[in-house]
């Protein structure tokens, strides 16, 4: 789960990170009030869950409360890559000397927390990784003992940080490591970490990605920006359905994430365009199938829907009854193609004969059929 910069700064502040004073504003008047209270130049920053805010005009320097109010008026309501700005962060401005990158991630390859630094801060680290990979220095934290000071010092030396700042840098690096482990983050990033013109170290921006699997032991739900979420993705999540909306016109209802992806790929291979990824999970209960169908059909572009269910141990007659009762709850004129395999598949197909559905026995056949009917 992605969270906003201001939320990341709120979570990181207790670690003693050098974060410039900031406030959060939903209106230009609030932005003015924060700037007035600080009494110094501020930066007004759009709070959206995508990168590239600066390039999109979502970050502005304001030298006075008047300018802060004007900047907030300009940024609030702005659309940045499909995300409407509803909130801005107003932060004390720092006179930038040099920008560094510092981040801690869960590294899948080494199965360790890796802390990374670069002397090329302020740009997307992916870009640095692609163009000048030697400019990114990494150290691996021991899974049991954690990150050692000397490892953080190695990073500081490697990025050429002035020696009088190494101690502060080590504190920041160790805080990021602790934040990963204590907040169940998969990524914590300070980009840029800035050496100010007067020589002090500042964490100017912060990004955190939290592990959805850890929601049971944190109050992540309070951090979720439900307004920024697609309303149907939200409904799906609340129903325990994995759903991702895409741009095509063929809806798919599948059990299992891998099979769902393979189904989308096959639709594309047969010349169609999938409208979504959707995994109904195990069991395929009527309520879940009904919710899945309702969510898919809420997209007016959808011209046909494919059900691809590999029953496995789940009984197909049960799944079929689930689909029937879902169709009663969500009647539709959109053509439906169903492919059902597993225990009691014949009984399942028999039950579905009562419904106005096109049945297929193989995934290939089902994908070809759904592409065909989507064109009628």
């Amino acid at each position: 789960m992605n969270i906003h910069e201001y939320q990341a700064k709120q979570l990181l502040a207790p670690y003693g990170l050098p974060i410039p004073r900031f406030g959060v504003a939903d209106t230009p008047a609030e932005a003015r009030a924060i700037a007035t209270a600080f009494g110094v130049p501020v930066v007004v920053k759009a709070q959206v869950l995508v990168g590239g805010r600066g390039k999109a005009g979502g970050v502005k320097l304001a030298n006075s409360p008047d300018e802060a109010e004007a900047a907030a008026r300009l940024i609030l309501g702005m659309n940045i890559k499909g995300n409407v700005v509803r909130r801005v962060l107003v932060s004390e401005a720092i006179d930038i000397g040099k920008e560094y990158y510092l981040g801690a991630i869960i590294d899948r390859a080494s199965k360790r927390v890796v802390v990374m630094a670069s002397e090329e801060g302020g740009v997307e680290i992916e870009q640095v990784a692609a163009l000048r990979p030697e400019k990114i220095i990494r150290v691996q934290a021991d899974p049991f003992l954690g990150l050692f000071d000397y490892q953080a010092r190695e990073l500081a030396y490697a990025v050429g940080l002035p020696l009088n700042l190494v101690g502060d840098f080590v504190k920041v690096a160790k805080s990021l490591y602790r934040a990963v482990t204590e907040w169940d983050a998969t990524l914590v990033e300070i980009n840029p970490l800035v050496m100010a013109a007067n020589g002090a170290l500042w964490a100017l921006d912060a990004k955190m990605v939290l592990d959805d699997n850890s929601a049971f032991r944190h109050e992540f739900e309070q951090l979720r920006d439900v307004e920024a979420e697609d309303p149907f993705e939200r409904e799906a999540r609340e129903m325990g359905i994995s759903y991702v909306k895409l741009d095509g016109n063929i809806g798919c209802v599948v059990n299992g994430a891998g099979l769902a992806m393979a189904t989308m790929d096959l639709i594309k291979l047969k010349g169609g365009e999938p409208a979504n990824f959707l995994d109904i999970g195990g069991g395929a209960k009527a309520d879940t199938v009904a919710a899945a169908l309702r969510i898919i059909l809420s997209d007016p572009k959808v011209k046909a829907v494919l059900f691809n269910i590999f029953g496995g141990i789940t009984r197909c007659d049960e799944v079929a009854r689930g689909i029937l009762s879902a169709l009663e709850k969500v009647p539709t004129k959109v053509p439906l193609v169903v492919r059902l395999v597993g225990t009691n598949e014949k009984e399942g197909r028999e039950i579905l004969k009562q419904a106005d559905m096109i049945t297929a026995t193989s995934m290939d056949e089902a994908a070809a059929l759904v592409v065909e009917v989507s064109r009628k």
Binding site: I106, R108, A109, K111, R112, V113, E126, A130, P143, F144, V180, T181, D184, T186, D211, D212, N213, S214, F216, R217, S242, V244, L246, V254, N255, G256, A257, G258, L259, A260, M261, A262, M264, D265, L266, I267, K268, L269, P274, F277, D279, F310, G311, G312, I313, V341, G342, T343, S362, M363, D364
Partner: protein, 290 residues
């Protein structure tokens, strides 16, 4: 022959009295798996059908000689179960549970390795050696004995491919689901090296998906260390970047972890890459000269 599980497997089910644990224990026994013990703290002395239940894994292992375990406990308690099973001396621990915090898996991964045990999963369907032993939740009837080893990050997609193989008369030595999480105990490379060493396996099927670089590492291993033919399939060519596709591990970050990249890496390593699950069976038949 086979890998990891066979007729000699003596299985312990951790969480045997829960709904999932009971259901799948019965399925595994019906398949022919020797389920010798169950563990549910506080339920020691009871029976689950004909299986004795113990309070701890140590006691269960000491009493029954269990050598493999399968875990069906909820995510908040799953790490404790994995470590308990390893400390009880079980050499193979298969964790079905989905939703374990990633940070916890880091330490667990290293702990299991350092104690000489092997973890399969978490968030996996388990494994099956057709006609001999099934550990986990795979539907047993789709698998047939034969010369094909199969390893996959997925669940139902695995069943789809196994079904195609069996219907084409291409049986399997062992079908292994390694799990869809970012941090898993057994990697593609681990599985490939086991199949390479198994005399009965003549060809290997690798089913990957978007996210991470496990498939790319597998490709490098295949190019240098595999003599047996490999057929690959990667799910998620139509997946958009930055979105988690169901599995916690199935996410394209920035421009890395795409299906196209993985398919290219496998093809460059000499792997026959299928366009669809059905084509996997066609390609396996081809590499086996059938």
């Amino acid at each position: 022959m086979s890998i990891l599980v066979d007729r000699t497997t003596r299985l312990l089910v951790q969480g045997i009295t829960g709904r999932e644990g009971q259901f799948h224990t019965r399925q595994m026994i019906a398949y022919g798996t020797k389920v010798v013990a169950g563990v549910t703290p506080g339920r020691g002395g009871q029976m689950m059908d004909d299986v004795p239940v113990f309070n701890s894994a140590k006691e269960a292992v000491r009493t029954t000689g269990a050598n493999t375990s399968v875990i069906f406990v909820p995510a908040p308690f799953a790490i404790d179960a994995i470590i308990e099973n390893v400390d009880a001396g079980l050499g193979l621990v298969v964790c079905i549970t989905e939703g374990i915090p990633t940070i916890d898996m880091l330490r667990t991964y290293h702990y299991v390795r350092e104690h000489g045990a092997r973890l399969v999963g978490p968030n996996c369907p388990g494994l099956i050696t057709p006609g001999e032993c099934k550990v986990g939740i795979m539907p047993g009837y789709i698998a047939r004995p034969g010369p094909v080893g199969l390893v996959s990050r997925s669940g139902t997609l695995t069943y789809e491919v196994v079904n195609h193989l069996s219907q084409a008369g291409l049986g399997q030595t062992t079908c292994l689901g390694i799990g869809g999480d970012p941090i898993i105990g057994t990697s593609f490379i681990d599985a490939l090296s086991l199949f390479e060493a198994d005399p009965a396996t003549e060809a290997v099927v690798l089913i990957g998906e978007i996210g991470g670089s496990d498939e790319e590492q597998a490709a490098a291993y295949i190019a240098t260390s595999m003599s047996k033919p490999v057929v690959g399939f990667i799910a998620g060519r139509t997946a958009p970047p930055g979105k988690r596709m169901g599995h916690a591990g199935a996410i394209i970050s920035g421009s890395s972890g795409t299906a196209v990249e993985k398919m290219r890496a496998l093809a460059d390593a000499g792997v026959n890459v299928a366009e669809s699950p059905a084509e996997v069976a066609t390609l396996v038949a081809k590499v086996l000269g059938r």
